[in-house]
C-alpha cells in the first residue's frame, strides 16, 4: 500500500509540470498585459515600464517560469497584483464561504440522488420511474442561469422567503439564512444528472446473480437494496463524487456571483477580469493538486469498499 501511494505521488510530478507549463504559457499568450490596466488612463510608457518591472513581467520567460515553480514549491504565491492582498489570505478567506454552500450541497445532493436512484431503479419501467426520468431530462435541459434568475425573483423577491443576496459574519447565519436559497437552487440543478447516472449504476447491479441469490435466500428487499446493491454500486458512485470534490475549491461561479457570496469562485472571475496572475496560478495549481489527490483517495477507497480490488 505504501509503495503504491509513493508511486502515485511520484507520478503526479509530470502531471503538475504539465499544468504549470500550460497555465504559464496560456497566461502569457492570451492573458493580456496587466500593466496597462494597472497604470491607469493617464499613464505614459515610463510608468507602464515601471509597473512591469514591479510585477516582474519584464523578466525573460524562463526567469518568470522559474519564479512560478519556486512559488509552488514554497507554497508562497506572493500578493495579488490588483489588491496587494497575500494570495494565501485570499484563498484562506474565500474558501470558507464557498465550502459553506458547497459541502452541504454535495452531501444533500449525493444522498438524495442515491436514495431516489435506488428507489426508482427497483421499479424500472413503472410510471414512477418514467415520470422521474422525464422530470430529470426536463430539469437538465434548463440552464442554471434560469434557475438562479427565476429562483431569486420568486423565492427571494416575490415571496420574501430568503434574502435576495448577502453574506453575514456568523456561520449559522450564513448557512441557514444566506446559503439556503443558493443550496436549494443548486440542488434543483444538480440532483437530476446525478440521479440519472446513479440509477444506471444501480440498474447494472439489480440483474446480477448475487441479487437473485440473495432474494432466493429470503433476504428482505430493503436489505438487498441498501446493503447488497448499494455496496456494489458504490464504486462508480464514489468515483463520480470524488471526481467532483476538487470543484469545491473553485466554488460555484454563478451562484456566488448572483448571491454575493464572497467565495473562491467569485474571486477566480475577478482575478481573470483583472489579469491577476498570482491568484489565477495559485488557484489553478491548488485545483490540479486537489484533483490528483482525490483521484488517489478514490483508488484507496475502492479497496475499502470492495476488498476484491487490489492496488498494484
Amino acid at each position: 500500500m505504501t509503495a503504491y501511494i509513493l508511486r502515485r505521488l511520484w507520478q503526479m510530478a509530470p502531471t503538475m509540470l504539465g499544468v504549470i507549463l500550460l497555465v504559464f504559457f496560456l497566461f502569457n499568450w492570451v492573458g493580456g498585459d496587466p500593466a496597462y490596466i494597472l497604470a491607469g488612463k493617464m499613464s505614459n510608457a515610463e510608468q507602464i515600464a515601471n509597473i512591469r518591472t514591479q510585477l516582474g513581467i519584464d523578466q525573460p520567460y524562463y526567469v518568470q517560469l522559474w519564479i512560478f515553480i519556486k512559488q509552488i514549491v514554497t507554497f508562497n504565491f506572493g500578493n495579488s497584483w490588483s489588491t496587494g492582498e497575500a494570495v494565501s489570505s485570499i484563498i484562506g478567506t474565500r474558501l470558507g464561504p464557498s465550502l459553506t454552500v458547497l459541502i452541504p450541497l454535495t452531501i444533500i445532493e449525493t444522498l438524495i440522488a442515491i436514495a431516489l436512484a435506488l428507489a426508482i431503479a427497483f421499479k424500472r419501467g413503472s410510471l414512477t420511474d418514467r415520470s422521474v426520468m422525464i422530470a430529470c431530462t426536463v430539469g437538465m435541459s434548463v440552464s442554471i442561469l434560469v434557475y438562479i434568475i427565476v429562483g431569486q425573483y420568486f423565492f427571494a423577491y416575490k415571496l420574501g422567503m430568503f434574502p435576495v443576496q448577502g453574506w453575514g459574519n456568523h456561520f449559522a447565519e450564513n448557512l441557514f439564512k444566506y446559503s439556503a436559497l443558493p443550496i436549494l437552487i443548486a440542488l434543483a440543478v444538480g440532483v437530476a444528472p446525478n440521479l440519472r447516472l446513479f440509477r444506471t449504476f444501480v440498474l447494472d447491479e439489480v440483474n446480477q446473480d448475487y441479487v437473485r441469490t440473495a432474494r432466493a435466500k429470503g433476504v428482505s428487499e430493503s436489505r438487498v437494496k441498501w446493503v447488497h446493491v448499494l455496496r456494489n454500486a458504490s464504486i462508480p458512485i464514489i468515483t463520480h463524487v470524488m471526481s467532483n470534490l476538487p470543484a469545491l475549491l473553485i466554488g460555484a461561479f454563478l451562484i456566488e456571483r448572483f448571491f454575493s457570496i464572497p467565495g473562491i469562485g467569485r474571486e477566480v472571475i475577478l482575478a481573470v477580469e483583472r489579469s491577476d496572475f498570482p491568484v489565477i496560478k495559485a488557484i489553478t495549481v491548488y485545483v490540479a493538486a486537489a484533483t490528483m489527490f482525490f483521484n488517489l483517495l478514490t483508488d484507496l477507497l475502492y479497496q475499502a469498499v470492495d476488498p476484491r480490488v487490489q492496488l498494484k
Binding site: 498585459d33 494597472l38 496587494g84 492582498e85 478567506t93 454575493s260
Partner: protein
C-alpha cells in the same frame, strides 16, 4: 389564501408601528407631566448610529490607500475616510471648488505660479495604534508627505500625472528615487514650502489654474506618515488600514464583499450650507438639509453586488437604500425618462445627471489609409463621421439614456458651451457625395475602394462584451450606408489599452470621464504630446497644439472659451474624430433617503444626505 406583496406588508407593519409609536408618545408625554424630570444626556446632533445607509458597489473594491488606489469604487471609500484640501460644492453646476480642510480658498500670486493655502486648525486623524494613544492633529506636513508618496516610483501610483512636471523640485526628487531605489521623504522640496504647521505654499513650474481641482482629487488626500510606515507592505502601500480625518472610518471590511463605515465622532464641525443651482429640486434639498451638522448618517453599509438582477431585486425588496441604475436595467424601472408608476407609488426617488464624460469615435491618425492630413484622407474621415447616427446608437446601446454632444466639453464642466453646434452632423447622403467626389469608387460588391483602386476596409475594435458587440453592429450599419467595408474585432480590455497606447488600433469608441471638471481635461485628449498617453487617436495637428499650449496658461473664462472654440473647429476641419455622447447617471434612492443628488465629480454623497428613521 390571499398573498400580500412584501411592500404592502411593510406598509401595514409601519402603520402598526406608527400607531404604537403614537401610543408610546402619549404615554411618555403623560409620564413627563407627572414624573419628576431627570437629567438626560444630550444626543449628538450628528452621526446618529440609528441612521444606517445601505448601498452597493457593482464592482469589487481593491484597497484604501489614496496614492495607490486605482479603481473608482475604492476611491469612493477613500473619499469617505480621507480628506483633501478642497472639495466640490454639493449643488453647484458647473462644479465649483470649495475648501475642505483648507481654511478658505488659496491665495494665488499675480503670475499664477504660487499658491498659499491655509489649513483649518483642530482637525484630527481618527485614533489608531500608530499614534500610540495620542491625538494626532492634521498639519500641512501630512499633505506634503502624501503628495511625495504619489511621486514615489516604488508605489507606482497611477496619479503621478496630477503632480508631474508641476511642482518645483518634486520631479527631481522622484528622478533621484528612481536612480537610488529609495525615495527620500525627509528631503525638502522647494515647490512644497511649509511656512508653518498650518500654511503650505506651493510653487509651480508654470501657471496652472486648475490646481485647486487637482488638490480636490481623492488621491491628494492626507495620510499620516506613522500609519503608512506601520502598515505598509514591501511596495510601500497600506491598502488595508485606512486612517484619515474624514467623516467616516472603516469599521469592517470583508474583501470583495462588504464594507461597513461608521461616522467619525470627532469629525470637525461641518454644517450643511449649500446654495441652490438652477435645478428646481435643489430648493427641496436645501429645505430638508440646511443647517444640519454633517454627517447625519451614523453608519454606511456597502455590499458588493456584481449582478444587475441581484442589485435591482435587492433594491426593490428594500435591502438597499441607494442604487445606481445603468442603462441596461433602465427599461425595468423607467418609462422613457420617468420612473414607472409602481416605483413612484412607493416613493422611490431618482437623481439624474449627465455624466461629465465624452465618448469619442476616433480613427488612427497615423494609419496610412485612414490617417494623415491630406485632403482625400480628411474627406474620407469626414464622410465616415457623417455616416454615423449617434442618436440611433444611444437608442440601441443605452436605451436612450445619453445625450449626443456637439462640443468636446460636456455639460457640467467648466468651459461647456450649450449653444455650440458642430459642423459635422449625421448626413449619409452628403457623406456618399463626398466620397464620390474624392474618387472612392464603389465596386461590384457595393463597397468602395481607395482612389487608386486598392481595397478599403476598416477594422473596428471593441471589448468582448455585449455593449461592444452592439456598438460594432451600429457602426457596421453606418459604414454599409456609405459603402465602406467594416470588420469588427473584439479584444479583452487590457489588450485594447496596450494596442491603443501604441497607436495600433484603427477605430474605437473611447469614453473619457472627467478627472476634474474643467475643459482642459477634455481638450488635452487631442494634444499631440499626449500621444501614447490618452490621445488615443494619435492626433497631432500643429495648429491645435499651439492653441492648446496657449490655453494652458489661461484662467477659465471667455478668452479661453474662444480659444477652445477655435480648437474644436480645427478638429472638425481635419475630421480627426467624431464626438459621440455623454451618458446619464441615474441614482435611485428609497423614500427614507433625504437630500440626495448625484454629484458629477464626487464619488459619494454620504456626507451630505440624511436618513428618515421613521420610514
Amino acid at each position: 389564501m390571499k398573498s400580500t406583496h412584501p411592500y404592502q406588508r411593510d406598509r401595514a407593519l409601519r402603520k402598526l408601528s406608527r400607531t404604537g409609536m403614537a401610543i408610546c408618545l402619549t404615554l411618555a408625554g403623560l409620564a413627563a407631566t407627572t414624573l419628576p424630570m431627570h437629567a438626560h444626556a444630550a444626543k449628538p446632533d450628528f452621526a446618529d448610529p440609528e441612521k444606517v445607509l445601505r448601498t452597493i458597489f457593482p464592482v469589487a473594491e481593491t484597497g484604501f490607500d489614496p496614492a495607490a488606489t486605482r479603481d473608482l469604487y475604492s476611491n469612493a471609500i477613500n473619499e469617505a475616510i480621507f480628506e483633501r484640501l478642497f472639495t466640490y460644492d454639493y449643488l453647484a453646476s458647473p462644479a465649483k471648488i470649495i475648501p475642505k480642510t483648507a481654511d478658505g480658498m488659496p491665495e494665488i500670486s499675480a503670475d499664477g505660479k504660487t499658491y498659499t493655502i491655509k489649513l483649518k486648525k483642530g482637525i484630527y486623524f481618527t485614533p489608531d495604534a500608530a499614534f500610540n494613544g495620542k491625538k494626532r492633529e492634521l498639519t500641512v506636513d501630512d499633505y506634503v508627505y502624501s503628495f511625495k508618496r504619489i511621486m514615489d516610483p516604488k508605489i507606482a501610483s497611477t496619479h503621478v500625472w496630477l503632480l508631474e512636471d508641476k511642482i518645483t523640485g518634486l520631479d527631481q526628487l522622484a528622478a533621484q528615487a528612481k536612480k537610488s531605489g529609495k525615495f527620500d521623504y525627509s528631503a525638502k522640496v522647494p515647490g512644497l514650502e511649509v511656512v508653518d504647521k498650518y500654511t503650505l505654499r506651493i510653487h509651480l513650474t508654470r501657471p496652472d489654474f486648475n490646481l485647486p481641482m487637482i488638490l480636490a482629487y481623492t488621491a491628494m488626500s492626507a495620510v499620516a506618515r506613522e500609519v503608512i510606515e506601520k502598515y505598509q507592505d514591501a511596495q510601500g502601500v497600506a491598502m488595508a488600514n485606512p486612517v484619515g480625518t474624514g467623516p467616516f472610518k472603516l469599521t469592517e471590511w470583508v474583501r470583495g464583499s462588504k464594507m461597513i463605515l461608521d461616522a467619525n465622532p470627532d469629525f470637525h464641525k461641518t454644517i450643511w450650507d449649500f446654495q441652490a443651482s438652477a435645478d428646481p429640486n435643489d430648493q427641496k434639498i436645501i429645505a430638508a438639509m440646511k443647517g444640519k451638522r454633517m454627517p447625519q448618517i451614523g453608519r454606511v453599509v456597502v455590499n458588493v453586488i456584481l449582478e444587475d438582477q441581484s442589485r435591482l431585486l435587492a433594491f426593490q425588496k428594500d435591502e438597499i437604500d441607494l442604487f445606481q441604475l445603468y442603462g441596461g436595467l433602465a427599461p425595468q424601472v423607467l418609462n422613457g425618462p420617468d420612473l414607472k408608476p409602481e416605483f413612484v407609488k412607493r416613493g422611490i426617488q431618482m437623481s439624474r445627471i449627465i455624466d461629465p464624460e465624452l465618448t469619442v469615435y476616433y480613427w488612427n491618425m497615423r494609419d496610412p489609409v485612414f490617417g494623415g492630413l491630406s485632403k482625400e484622407k480628411i474627406a474620407l474621415r469626414r464622410a465616415m463621421s457623417m455616416a454615423h447616427n449617434v442618436e440611433e446608437e444611444i437608442r440601441i446601446v443605452d436605451n436612450g439614456h445619453a445625450i449626443p454632444l456637439q462640443y468636446p466639453i460636456p455639460p457640467g464642466v467648466v468651459g461647456h458651451d450649450p449653444n455650440y453646434k458642430s459642423s459635422i452632423q449625421y448626413n449619409p447622403a452628403a457623406a456618399n457625395a463626398l466620397l464620390d467626389k474624392f474618387g472612392y469608387k464603389k465596386g461590384k460588391d457595393g463597397y468602395r475602394t481607395m482612389p487608386d483602386g486598392s481595397p478599403l476596409e476598416i477594422v473596428h475594435t471593441a471589448q468582448t462584451e455585449s455593449r461592444g458587440h452592439l456598438q460594432a453592429e451600429v457602426w457596421k450599419k453606418s459604414y454599409d450606408g456609405i459603402g465602406i467595408k467594416m470588420r469588427a474585432e473584439f479584444r479583452p480590455f487590457a489588450e485594447i489599452l496596450k494596442a491603443e497606447k501604441q497607436c495600433q488600433l484603427l477605430q474605437r469608441i473611447s469614453p473619457w470621464i472627467a478627472d476634474y471638471p474643467d475643459g482642459d481635461n477634455f481638450m488635452q485628449l487631442f494634444y499631440g504630446k499626449n500621444i501614447h498617453m490618452n490621445n488615443n487617436g494619435c492626433v497631432a495637428i500643429p495648429e491645435y497644439d499651439k492653441l492648446y499650449e496657449q490655453s494652458q496658461k489661461m484662467a477659465p473664462g471667455p478668452e479661453r472659451d474662444l480659444l477652445y472654440h477655435k480648437m474644436t473647429r480645427i478638429m472638425e476641419l481635419y475630421a480627426a474624430q467624431r464626438l459621440g455622447y455623454a451618458r446619464h447617471r441615474m441614482m435611485l434612492s428609497q423614500p427614507r433617503v433625504i437630500g440626495h443628488k448625484k454629484h458629477p465629480i464626487m464619488h459619494i454623497e454620504w456626507l451630505q444626505i440624511d436618513i428618515d428613521k421613521n420610514k
